[in-house]
């Protein structure tokens, strides 16, 4: 028998695609082992010293499974959110929670709506579970087209609509008021999956308060960005208790590792570190905007830990990504129009930003010197 014959039809029909090529793979294929990582929106500022110390201590008990309930962490998160622990479910990063959300709300064949070219892992899981993705492009200015997303949800009878706020890769931000208007326009049986991976970088007053009685929204947060724990794999969703119960029925109970739980709990307690990261990130965004302007290039307004720079064409953006990679700098490029002429650069430390500025100038000069490729 051929191996493929035993694979379920939904999986057999999927392309062998991945949402991303990882920096490690770029290092292997480019032969560079010391890439400046400005492409995965990781924190250049790392975790707090308290989080690191807690993780070091937790390693002493790494032979023990982590608490599948993440009880202590959920209790701390609940205090921060002003709700009960029954409104919170932890996962191995938001990716894990997006996959669970797809399973909780979509049956095979059901439609989900999102923005073309936004964070690709939602689309990956929609396809992986045999559901149907309906997309709406970004507006020309890189903002989300909320009215069109709501229309698409109604037209496709979508059970789930996904958006990130601040958005990735654009960095754009939807105010609490605009979000409320959007939600009012959604069909009543369509749940909003609101990915707040970058929410710490946005102004507090822009984030809608948590209404724990609202059954129509699931919000996700992560320790991968402002908290500097991407490699630890830990995030959480917060929602109506009945929705959390549905997540709990199907989640991999032991998905979150013991060391990550300890790190996240300590990270939460160190508010100063996050505040400092957020301040430094804002300074870095301003620096990137000024750098782009010095080259006559526009940027998208961003409230996240990255900035999109307009290279004017897909060709120039692609050439710049490749040229930067040859110079040891890893950045990403949005894949779909109208943002495919941009590159997305994560805010690094001051030293890293200076190194990027130099490589970027060289890459632009290289492209300018090769008119045949334009």
């Amino acid at each position: 028998m051929k191996a493929n014959a035993s694979v379920a039809p939904v999986v057999a029909a999927l392309p062998a695609s991945r949402p991303f090529i990882a920096p490690e793979e770029l290092e292997r294929t480019s032969g560079r082992t010391d890439l400046l990582r400005l492409g995965a929106n990781e924190s250049a500022f790392g975790p707090s010293s308290g989080a690191l110390a807690a993780m070091r201590a937790a390693l002493e008990r790494v032979a023990w499974y982590g608490d599948p309930e993440s009880f202590d962490l959920r209790a701390a998160l609940a205090r921060a959110l002003g709700c009960g622990s029954e409104h919170i479910v932890c996962g191995a990063g938001i990716d894990d929670l997006l996959a669970l959300a797809v399973r909780v709300f979509l049956s095979p064949g059901d439609a989900a709506v999102t923005t073309l070219g936004c964070y690709p892992t939602f689309a990956y899981h929609v396809a992986g579970y045999g559901a149907r993705l309906v997309t709406v492009p970004y507006a020309a200015d890189g903002t989300l087209q909320l009215r069109e997303l709501a229309r698409a949800a109604a037209a496709s009878r979508a059970r789930l609509v996904y958006l990130a706020n601040p958005d990735n890769p654009s960095g754009s931000f939807v105010s609490a008021g605009a979000l409320a208007t959007f939600r009012a326009a959604l069909p009543p049986d369509c749940t909003l999956l609101l990915d707040e991976a970058y929410a710490e970088f946005a102004p507090d007053e822009g984030i809608p308060p948590f209404d724990s009685r609202d059954p129509g929204i699931v919000r996700t947060r992560t320790f991968s960005k402002a908290y500097g724990l991407a490699g630890a794999r830990i995030g959480y969703a917060y929602a109506h208790a009945e929705i959390v119960t549905a997540f709990n029925k199907i989640r991999n109970q032991y998905a979150v590792n013991r060391v990550a739980q300890a790190g996240a709990l300590a990270a939460l307690a160190d508010r100063n570190h996050v505040a400092q990261v957020v301040r430094e990130t804002a300074a870095g965004r301003a620096e990137y905007r000024a750098l782009a302007a010095s080259h006559g290039l526009a940027t998208l307004p961003s409230l996240a830990n990255f900035v999109c720079v307009d290279l004017g064409s897909r060709e120039r953006a692609e050439a710049t990504v490749e040229s930067l990679l040859r110079r040891g700098v890893f950045v990403r490029k949005p894949g779909a129009p109208p943002l495919d002429g941009y590159i997305r650069v994560t805010v690094g430390t001051a030293d890293e930003r200076a190194r990027f500025a130099g490589a970027f100038s060289e890459a632009l000069a290289e492209f300018a010197a090769k008119p045949a490729q334009r």
Copy 2:
């Protein structure tokens, strides 16, 4: 709208069940914070010092995502297995890989076959994905009924049959020859999912060699048991390359954390540590058998890191688990007949085994003194 109305029918219909109550939860509900953990088959001997050092070092880069390809670890595993890396996929422990296997091989409504009362997470995921579980009980002596499993697979047109070898909770072991006979009796489109979580504790010559061209079997291994890294959450499956491709199409690409990858890679290199753990575990099993015999109790033969002791009745087994818990000792009890009159005790360190022996004697005496409850 009610929250439940938005949940997909498969999930809404599931009971709010969990495969296990974790020791942390037992600690919270019992008020004891220092349970002797002999119930989750964790390694009392911990990881190797090399693995711990590698994890400590990896924490320095915990702000970076782990390599989603687990490239270095897969390369090392491939060398050990004598195959190419394309035959290996890593996951956040075997639980993660069991969930993926269910998705790879089963469509909703398809049948899967396993043993009633065996490791419950397979059944959990079968139910969670809307597939159908068909079970065969253990034989009275705690062994797997292979002929009946194959018959059930044929009768139910199962696409997947799950067994663990050594088995959990019985500890029984199926020889390579018996496994080959079993496979020959399976329907041709039924894949064998062979969970080798405890394989390091079994004799090498009992483990079938890996035939990388065989499309009908997926085998899983973990760093949670003999390697002492349960809290790190890392395991792998090895199979035909086309089957691994199917796993790669749907897996959470960033499921495995960076620290775990470093720890597993270092753990693999430290063969002495594992050999020592395996020796000490065998000594501990013998000690548990002798302890049981000293109380006139039988045990099941085990080639894993735990021993099942026959308490003679479900009532006595349940009372013993509760009595041990009151004495600060956490063990588990198989849930289904014919093993529900047993308790399952993980091999601890020599000190822990001595502590267990004392608490066990007290628990037996307590039960004997309460004839009304019998």
